[in-house]
């Protein structure tokens, strides 16, 4: 494939700015697709040029496959970078790129499907001998009782047609499992018109650990793991690399499982394999694979010294990876705090509007990925993340102290942000110790109510 000369960036916000940075370094021109709301944004100013693709609402702009393709063709781009979110894992865009001789900077449509559909992905994990949460389909009360004794308790009985937390029953002991099964079936029939159910082990104490994969289709490498257990309602808030307090054997097994899964599906691009670490049983299970650049990729870049976007572009061009696994040396520790424009004292309600002054210090081991400058407008049409503050240090303690220092002196006023919450987390003993589970942030917020957190951006 020929070298890419001009990339259409089908995204916005900090990731658009991030992709432009690498393109500049590579001498690649950029065309940024912008909605009306983003016309005057930092990305539009930094790109070689921008084209307005539609109104502010993303369904009328950033999510329109045809318009994105037309914009790329009309501006003579050879490739499209989809960023994360929006159309980044959209098969139709990948397929349309193919039909129009545009390079999609990501995996092909078949691989997007292989990892995007939960049931397909599960089957691939089974075939690749990657551990999944123990469980299975059951169709009689007797089967349910038998499987339950294999899985252990607590477990969940889930409706096949359910999802998003609906159609689930928690079972804590074997007594009465048959009647719980019958109840689950009749509820599922009533709610979804589909009485099929399956059972799954319930992990009550788990950590979210994910592996960065880099593959040209032949050479499949990992760039270490990240820990993203500090979450609020499944939204990641703080990420770090490497995962702290993870036994060496488990870390190696997780990395190996991620490579095995990627190899099994013939994955070719940058990707992330996510796992749930079961802290009580010292086991881990495959969750899903994300076929895109992730929000938290900078922590991996910080400890590896690699430019993952450059690698992603090179793979899309068809260049073979020249690295071997031993060339990837991970050094030190890195944190990322996601700064959101939200009012943490009002149930984390988004807080759009015009920002006042914005200032981040220049410091050793600091990186700030943002599209926000003083006076910028934060649109209510998009997600509330306005900056990612990333620190690196030779040790975890040093990286953590740098993050505390930066968040205590940076300036970001005019809108409410979650910086006060970050500062509480960074000073919390459990977080300092490392290895918290996904219940951690919810419990912290019960202990320290958000409306008592004050400070910059509060």
């Amino acid at each position: 494939m020929p070298a890419i000369k001009r990339i259409l960036i089908a995204n916005r916000g900090e990731i658009a700015v991030r992709v432009i940075r690498t393109c500049r370094a590579l001498g690649i021109e950029t065309v940024l697709a912008v909605s009306e709301a983003d016309r005057d944004g930092l990305g539009a100013r930094l790109a070689t040029r921008s084209v307005c693709i539609g109104p502010s609402r993303s369904t009328d702009s950033y999510l329109k496959v045809g318009t994105i393709i037309e914009a790329a063709l009309g501006t003579q781009c050879d490739a499209i970078h989809p960023g994360y979110g929006f159309l980044s894992e959209n098969q139709a865009l990948a397929a349309a790129c193919d039909e129009n001789d545009i390079i999609f900077i990501g995996p092909d449509a078949v691989q997007i499907e292989a990892v995007g559909d939960k049931l397909t992905a599960r089957q691939h994990a089974i075939d690749a001998k990657v551990p999944l949460v123990p469980g299975g389909n059951v169709s009689t009360p007797q089967q349910a009782a038998a499987l339950a004794s294999e899985i252990g308790f607590p477990l969940l009985i889930k409706a096949v047609s359910g999802g998003g937390g609906r159609g689930m029953k928690r079972v804590d002991r074997v007594e009465g499992i048959e009647s719980m099964y019958d109840l689950a079936v009749s509820e599922a029939t009533a709610a979804f018109g589909d009485g099929r159910v399956y059972m799954e082990r319930l992990v009550t104490v788990g950590r979210h650990v994910e592996v960065q994969i880099l593959s040209d289709g032949k050479t499949i490498l990992h760039v270490g793991e990240r820990d993203c257990s500090v979450q609020r309602r499944y939204q990641k808030v703080v990420e770090e690399a490497p995962a702290p307090c993870l036994p060496t054997k488990m870390r190696d097994d997780i990395l190996e499982a991620a490579l095995r899964f990627s190899r099994h599906i013939g994955y070719r691009s940058l990707g992330t394999v996510e796992f749930l670490v079961d802290c009580e049983r010292d086991e881990f299970y495959f969750l899903e694979m994300n076929a895109r650049i992730q929000v938290e990729h900078p922590v991996t870049e910080a400890i590896s010294g690699m430019d993952l976007v450059a690698a992603q572009i090179a793979i899309a061009e068809g260049q073979p990876l020249t690295l071997t696994q031993s060339d990837i040396q991970l050094k030190g520790h890195s944190f990322e705090c996601r700064v959101n424009a939200e009012d943490i004292s009002a149930d984390f309600r988004p807080s759009p509007g015009q920002v006042g002054d914005v200032w981040f210090p220049s410091a050793t081991g600091l990186r700030v990925d943002t599209h926000i400058q003083s006076g910028a407008m934060i649109s209510p049409h998009y997600d509330s993340m306005i900056a990612k503050v990333i620190t690196w240090g030779e040790t975890r303690d040093i990286a953590l102290q740098r993050m505390r220092d930066i968040l205590s002196i940076c300036v970001l006023d005019g809108v409410k942000t979650n910086i006060p919450l970050h500062r509480v987390i960074l000073d919390d003993d459990d977080f300092i110790k490392g290895g918290v589970d996904t219940n951690y942030l919810g419990q912290l917020l019960e202990k320290v109510p958000a409306n008592t957190m004050t400070g910059i951006g509060g």
């Binding site: 539609g54 318009t67 037309e70 009309g74 759009p352 509007g353 015009q354 407008m377 209510p380």
Partner: protein
């Protein structure tokens, strides 16, 4: 005046502007912003000057441009009305290569006059003028990409 502008306050202000030698007035009171502009300011006056009143919604400043971006809008410098593109796509002046263009400079148009075609992924959408008047300028070249909101033609309204 109190800190709330009433309708009659605005009428008073408009009358003051009309009687003055100024073309434009911006007023800010608390979180209310009022801007008045004489239509066709800077161009030869046609008919009676009517200041346009824009009062942005005070609580949500970023939504104000939403409706206006693709609606025909006066371009004050020449006293012409811009007809912007409703979508991004390739703009064609004629129904097929070599055919006569839908409109040219001097064509008299009404709001439902087709002024061109926009192609998005092989799908052709005809573009209506949305205003009546005489085509004064065709600003978007034939067969090239137009952005959402880009001015396609300029119209001298009756």
């Amino acid at each position: 005046m109190s800190d709330k502008l009433t309708h009659s306050d605005i009428e008073d202000i408009m009358a003051l502007v009309e009687g003055s030698s100024f073309d434009q007035l911006s007023l800010e009171m608390g979180d209310l912003k009022l801007s008045l502009r004489r239509s066709g300011a800077g161009a030869p006056v046609q008919g009676s000057p009517r200041p346009t009143v824009a009062t942005p919604v005070p609580t949500a400043p970023m939504v104000t441009s939403e409706q206006s971006a693709t609606a025909p809008a006066a371009s004050p410098a020449q006293g012409l009305t811009d007809v912007p593109s409703q979508m991004l796509g390739t703009f064609y002046h004629a129904s097929k290569p070599g055919a006569d263009p839908f409109v040219s400079v001097g064509t008299v148009i009404s709001p439902d006059t087709v002024i061109g075609i926009i192609e998005v992924m092989k799908l052709m959408t005809s573009v209506e003028a949305g205003v009546s008047g005489i085509v004064a300028e065709i600003t978007a070249p034939d067969g090239e990409l137009v952005e959402h909101g880009q001015v396609l033609i300029r119209v001298r309204q009756d």
